[in-house]
């Protein structure tokens, strides 16, 4: 650092930290991005090109054949894939809508009211996050059979609701805690009922929190594997994670196809999240992380 004539030691120390930070970021970028890049590169290879040693770092003959196969409604692979895709979308969207409809009033009540048992209920809702899916599988399967929901998407939606709800309620509650109670008081004095004050004044202000909740529910439902694998047996009802797993357990060596399917399965959630992530961080800052 010969050029660093001003305040040599101080300057060097700051530079040291900054360079350390840069190397760390570079390392994290490689760790994060290389697997994804390798997924993309593999997905545009032919099956033969993927199975070579040493590997083709960049495919000599890039091909979109795997994508064509998956998106072609004429062939059976494409039909399955598109149906799985549609099933996932259907289940995720419905789960999201219901989660918002259930979480919003609950979070509001936990934030504003002081009915007996409020704390207990709040924490028992949060405790749901503690329990793994696997230990609920058998009883829930029996329950779904009793409700007549096995092999329906309803069984998934009902189940997904519960693992989206706790965090959704927690996030939204933080949001409502930050909306001054005087706004509702003003509305109630201005002639609104408690419910009107909530719908007309508070709910519109919590839109960022609702969006964050919605993203979380959607991603959770879209990515879920265990319940879908247990509750659904008919091929035409499978969602993407299970569908892909079933398909490729039969075609174990078609790595380009698997990578292409994995990529397309990831696109909707990644795009959705990147578009709306600022709401998510904001919801965390204003809600969960506040001091």
């Amino acid at each position: 650092m010969a050029l660093d004539s001003v305040s040599r030691s101080g300057g060097q120390r700051i530079d040291g930290w900054r360079w350390g930070g840069r190397f760390f970021l570079l390392f994290m970028l490689l760790y994060t991005a290389v697997p994804m890049i390798w997924m993309l590169i593999t997905s545009i290879k032919s099956g033969f090109a993927a199975m070579q040693f040493p590997p083709q770092w960049w495919p000599r003959e890039p091909t979109l054949a795997s994508y064509q196969k998956l998106l072609d409604p004429q062939n059976s692979v494409g039909q399955d894939f598109l149906r799985f895709f549609w099933n996932s979308l259907y289940v995720s969207v419905l789960t999201t809508l219901l989660a918002v409809a259930v979480a919003v009033p609950a979070a509001y009540a936990f934030s504003r009211f002081s009915f007996p048992g409020r704390k207990f209920l709040f924490f028992s809702v949060l405790l749901r996050n503690m329990f793994p899916a696997v230990i609920f599988l058998v009883p829930l399967f029996i329950l779904m059979r009793w409700l007549g929901l096995v092999n329906t998407h309803g069984s998934l939606i009902l189940t997904y609701l519960t693992f989206g709800l706790p965090l959704a309620i927690w996030l939204l509650k933080g949001f409502y805690d930050n909306i001054p109670v005087q706004l509702e008081q003003a509305a109630r004095i201005d002639g609104a009922t408690r419910f009107q004050a909530f719908i007309l004044i508070v709910a519109p202000l919590s839109v960022p929190g609702i969006i964050a909740t919605a993203i979380y529910s959607f991603i959770g439902a879209w990515n879920e594997y265990i319940y879908a694998a247990t509750f659904l047996t008919k091929n035409e009802q499978l969602t993407l994670p299970v569908g892909i797993q079933r398909f490729f357990s039969e075609n174990t060596s078609d790595y380009p196809g698997l990578m292409a399917a994995t990529f397309m399965m990831s696109v909707p959630v990644v795009v959705l999240f990147l578009l709306l992530q600022r709401y998510f961080v904001r919801a965390l800052t204003e809600g969960a992380v506040k001091h």
Partner: protein, 365 residues
């Protein structure tokens, strides 16, 4: 407009009393200030009147209706909040229109009323703005406007000026006072600033610890505080309270200090002291009733100057006397310096005497 009557109003949270048996009557068209330190129950009382929190016991009467169990929307009240509580997602116009929409007034009438209120408050040019695009003073005005459009029986105001800077506060103070005079409105106004209460209100209700301490005109409260709390809370700088002991000098009742001096009393003040429950007496004196002498004169008490604060019109001098800090105002022409020995002369007609045990004011009759 209407009168408001509070009868034995009580609010408890669990076993904690927030409002303790408050009774008072606000006459039609009167401007009443609820004043007291934070946590004294004044805001709770206001919220009880508004119906934002349920009362524990007692009665609230607005006009000729007992409103104990009515929703806020049915009480015919308007409220201005400390943080203004403007709906952030609505424009000024929509903020003003909201209470009218809730009452399902026809669109044309709403428009008319909103524009009229905007004109009165001189903010027609702001109607399309969002609250966050307004200055503090403008937001304050919108909040006032939102109360105004309703033409309610009672206006409730919860520290509406405390978020404004000092200059704006003085200006808005006179505007609200003007507003009250023009509308002949019944107003209940909560503030922790005794100056606001004294300057604006027809009557003030001084509260402390959930109890109503005194309810009277500002002049009466100032001249005849009922206890030491009210005495020290109202007036700026605060009334000096000097703990002394009743004694007898040549058969005459007097007050003696642990510092060794005694203060002779007028016959009327002597009668007051005789009513005390013990020998402990607290002498109260406002800064303007004390005379400062630079040399010893008969009857004056020696004291040492602590600080000197010239303000231009008057100079405030603080001195230590019998363990208490005493405020004295002197003309700016008088020059004193810290640690100077001075003599203080009390005005027998305008001094206050309190029972040192009960802390209540002592009366001659």
């Amino acid at each position: 407009m209407a009168q408001v009557v509070l009868k034995d109003l009580v609010k408890t949270y669990g076993s904690v009393y927030a409002v303790h048996d408050v009774s008072l009557t606000v006459n039609d068209g009167e401007f009443v200030a609820l004043v007291g330190p934070s946590g004294c129950g004044k805001t709770t009382t206001l919220n009880l009147v508004a119906g934002l929190i349920p009362i524990t016991s007692g009665d609230i009467v607005i006009g000729d209706r007992v409103v104990n169990n009515l929703d806020p929307k049915d009480r015919d009240i308007a409220m201005v909040f400390q943080n203004y509580a403007l709906y952030p997602q609505k424009s000024v116009y929509k903020n003003l229109a909201f209470p009218l929409q809730m009452r399902r007034l026809p669109r044309e009438e709403i428009d008319l009323k909103v524009r009229e209120a905007a004109k009165v408050l001189d903010m027609t040019h702001l109607l399309e703005r969002k609250p966050r695009e307004l200055s503090g003073g403008q937001q304050q005005r919108v909040a006032l406007g939102r109360a105004l459009v309703r033409d309610p029986a009672v206006f409730l105001m919860d520290e509406p000026l405390s978020n404004l800077d000092a200059k704006l506060r003085v200006q808005m103070r006179s505007e609200i006072k003007r507003f009250h005079q023009d509308l002949k409105a019944t107003i209940i106004y909560v503030t922790h600033d005794q100056l606001e209460a004294v300057t604006m209100a027809d009557k003030m209700a001084v509260m402390n610890g959930g109890y109503l301490q005194q309810y009277d005109t500002p002049a009466q409260v100032f001249a005849h505080p009922v206890n030491m709390f009210v005495a020290s809370f109202i007036g700026s700088p605060a009334m000096s309270l000097i703990p002394l002991e009743a004694t007898s000098v040549n058969g005459e009742t007097a007050l003696s200090s642990a510092e060794g001096w005694t203060l002779a009393l007028s016959p009327r003040n002597a009668r007051k002291v005789k009513k005390a429950t013990s020998k402990k007496i607290v002498l109260g004196a406002r800064h303007s009733t004390l005379k400062l002498h630079k040399s010893s004169i008969p009857g004056a008490i020696p004291a040492k100057v602590y600080t000197v604060e010239p303000t231009g019109d008057v100079t405030f001098v603080q001195a230590f006397l019998s363990g208490a800090v005493v405020n004295i105002s002197v003309p700016p022409s008088v020059s004193v310096v810290p640690d100077e020995q001075v003599w203080l002369e009390f005005d027998q007609e305008r001094m206050h005497l309190f029972d040192g045990e009960t802390e209540m004011a002592l009366n001659a009759e």
